[in-house]
């Protein structure tokens, strides 16, 4: 089996840990627990003809005072940037994360997730998605609306990333 290192980065409290928990354990909790350092999970991602063992690194969310520790990005085969669709600044910071990824792991495919879509009306969420697509659509492999709470978009994100990592 092929193993791949996948990292999740983004601002603090954007729902990275919840996103992984939904994907790996199919669970969700409203309680916010800040990740310290890094938390690693593992899940096999089944594609059409093969299975990828994903070692998913949930990296402590960045803040203005304490940016993301870029050491953990080294060697990652794929990357998921998570932003909170209800917090504009987390979307604005995507550019910084893309710069960091470009510096450290330029060949890694990147998926952008606008998490917490369940907190907005469909039409509003789609409008924001369109704006983000216009801004970053050419830079990343794909952009998804997601919800760790409802599970919407979670499987698709990891599936698309696994597919991108092998092609």
């Amino acid at each position: 089996m092929i193993s791949k290192k996948i990292i999740l980065i983004g601002d603090f409290a954007t729902g990275k840990t919840s996103f992984i928990r939904r994907y790996v354990d199919n669970q969700f909790s409203d309680t916010y627990l800040s990740t310290i350092g890094v938390k690693i999970s593992r899940k096999n991602i089944a594609l059409e003809h093969e299975t990828v063992q994903g070692l998913i690194w949930d990296i402590e969310g960045g803040t203005e005072i304490k940016p993301v520790n870029t050491t953990y990005l080294t060697g990652a085969h794929g990357c998921i940037i998570v932003a909170d669709i209800t917090r504009e600044e987390t979307i604005e910071h995507i550019a910084n994360y893309l710069k960091t990824i470009g510096d450290i792991i330029p060949s890694a495919p990147v998926i952008l997730v606008l998490n917490k879509r369940d907190m907005l009306e469909n039409i509003t969420a789609k409008n924001i998605l369109e704006q983000v697509k216009q801004q970053y659509g050419q830079t990343v492999n794909d952009i998804y609306l997601g919800s760790a709470k409802s599970g919407s978009g979670v499987e698709e994100v990891f599936y698309t990333l696994a597919h991108s990592m092998l092609t």
Partner: protein, 563 residues
């Protein structure tokens, strides 16, 4: 470097052997700034090994083990020192991991039987993350770029050795001594040398033949270590792993007892809830919460159940109960009836409200009509009361540039014309045209107010010469001739103001003074002024009030009819 270490040990050891047992850190701190990190490292190692030897000597000095070792040395011919060295190498490697440095992915692993590590891939990743974190921290805080080599927790030790694109982790039950570390490094170097290219190009695929080859080599290495342990003369000490397992067993037993007790409490609570509510509710205890599961016919007991659980366990409740179909149907029917009742009440209230508000709204409409009427009357009254001001204002606007207009008296004063000669009645024909034109203009402003005009007075004036009686006659005649002249003018005839025009002789009552001297020419003149009809104003006002009184009467009658 070993020579330096030996030399230093020879010089330093005798002098500090009495001190180092209790002040090892002080010694390192004192030596480090002077000798630098590298030397300090070896000195530290030497001191540590010296410490270990001294400790063993102290431990075994009077023990039976010492006598056994002496006897063994006599029989086997192996020196007591060599036997002592063998005893010092008692750290056991339980597993070896080869990990890709960049990705943290496990390339290959091997472990001793019964000491296998669960989920080695996860362990490799976590170890990699920890190593990255510590290395990052060290490199931020130190000038020398060094890497972590030992991670130790209790009796579990991880020895890490990096090379190129991979690093090896040896899992041991105690900290390895220098010899064991060197041995691991030699083995690891042979692996790296053989598979360097594979390591460099590692892409996460563990199905490559190299992976199983490396795993086999490491397995063989671990087996050799076990054989050496069996054949060695090492003293059998208490096995730390056994102690750990024993301690873990005790802990697990205690934990099991606790869990069983909690489980029993929850089952009792479930029974109590069932007795109270007649509902099958399952309780799942978590660390900080109690979760309610199952199907219920009604939700009315939920607060009671939550109170009971809170009272018995002190934990908050997470409600995952599902209302059964029967219960949902009942609730639905109940809510539907409630909605119907509410609708009926609402309709009734709406009806009552419209009945109550109808007369009020009608009254408001009537009042609004009255207000409009009153406002119109107020405007009319204001207009009547201020009609003279209004005429004066319009005259001023129309005639402010006319030299014959007297603003103060709102009259025409022809003093500036030489209209009459001394004691003459007839006017100067050259000047009368100015009177005609000015009067036409004056009349055009007055005509819209004709209904309020009582008369338009043509006043004849004389100078002060002559008697008063003569002047009275003279001025009357002057006024008459001007009146006759004006009555002949088409604009006067068209206006039908014959009955309004009145000629009056004023004699010399209003002579013109210039610097206290009479201007005789100016005094002989005509003035024209208007006079409002007070009766007309009064009549109009009364008319307005009469209408109002009439309206009031109508309203009162209307109200009576409605009542």
């Amino acid at each position: 470097m070993p020579e330096l270490s030996d030399s230093l040990q020879k010089v330093i050891a005798p002098a500090i052997s009495k001190e180092i047992a209790n002040n090892q850190d002080v010694m390192i701190d004192a030596l480090y700034p002077i000798m630098g990190g590298m030397i300090s490292k070896y000195v530290t190692q030497s001191i540590k090994e010296l410490m270990e030897q001294i400790n063993r000597k102290i431990e075994n000095g009077l023990s039976t083990e010492r006598f056994k070792r002496k006897l063994k040395a006599k029989f086997t011919g192996v020196s007591e020192t060599e036997l002592l060295m063998e005893e010092s190498s008692d750290a056991v490697i339980s597993a070896l991991f080869v990990i890709h440095k960049d990705t943290g992915l496990l390339i290959s692993s091997a472990s001793m039987a019964k000491r296998e590590i669960d989920d080695p891939q996860m362990v490799a990743s976590m170890a990699s993350a920890i190593k990255d974190f510590i290395n990052d921290w060290i490199n931020k805080h130190q000038e020398n770029k060094e890497e972590i080599q030992i991670l130790s927790y209790g009796n579990a030790t991880l020895y890490i050795e990096s090379a190129g694109s991979v690093y090896v982790i040896a899992f041991l039950d105690s900290e390895p001594d220098y010899e064991l570390r060197s041995e691991i490094n030699r083995f690891f170097a042979s692996i790296v040398k053989q598979y360097a290219l594979y390591f460099q190009n590692f892409d996460g695929d563990d199905s490559a033949p190299e992976v199983s080859e490396i795993s086999q080599k490491m397995q063989d290495y671990l087996l050799l270590q076990t054989d050496f342990d069996r054949s060695s003369t090492s003293v059998q000490k208490h096995n730390p792993a056994k102690l750990i397992f024993l301690a873990l067993g005790v802990l697990l037993l205690g934990y099991g007892g606790y869990i069983a007790n909690e489980w029993y409490k929850i089952r009792i609570l479930e029974t109590q809830i069932k007795q109270k509510t007649a509902q099958e509710i399952t309780l799942n205890a978590h660390d900080n919460t109690i979760e309610l599961n199952g199907y219920v016919d009604t939700l009315k007991h939920i607060p009671e159940v939550i109170d009971l659980i809170g009272e018995k366990t002190g934990k908050p409740v997470i409600n995952h109960l599902i209302l059964s179909t029967k219960g949902q149907e009942y609730l639905f029917a109940k809510q539907q009836k409630n909605i119907q009742d509410d609708e009926q009440k609402l309709t009734l209230l709406q009806k009552q409200f419209s009945e109550t508000t109808k007369p009020v709204l009608e009254s408001i409409a009537e009042l609004q009509k009255k207000i409009v009427l009153l406002e119109a009357k107020e405007t009319e009254i204001h207009h009547i009361l201020h009609i003279k001001d209004e005429i004066a204002s319009k005259l001023f606007t129309a005639m402010k540039n006319n030299p014959f207009y007297n603003r103060q008296e709102q009259a025409l004063d022809f003093a500036k014309l030489h209209l009459f000669s001394v004691q003459q009645v007839d006017y100067n024909p050259k000047e009368i045209n100015a009177v005609k034109k000015t009067f036409e203009h004056y009349l055009s402003v007055l005509l819209p107010y004709r209904a309020y005009l009582k008369k338009i007075i043509i006043e004849g004036h004389s100078d002060s010469s002559g008697t008063a009686a003569n002047n009275m006659v003279l001025t009357q005649k002057r006024a008459d001739v001007v009146k006759t002249y004006l009555l002949k003018q088409p604009f006067v005839q068209k206006a039908h103001i014959e009955n309004l025009l009145e000629s009056v002789g004023s004699a010399s009552k209003e002579i013109i003074l210039v610097n206290d001297q009479e201007d005789h020419n100016a005094s002989r003149r005509i003035m024209i002024r208007f006079e409002l009809d007070p009766d007309m104003v009064y009549e109009t006002m009364q008319k307005v009030f009469n209408i109002q009184q009439k309206d009031d009467i109508i309203n009162r009658n209307g109200s009576k009819e409605k009542l």
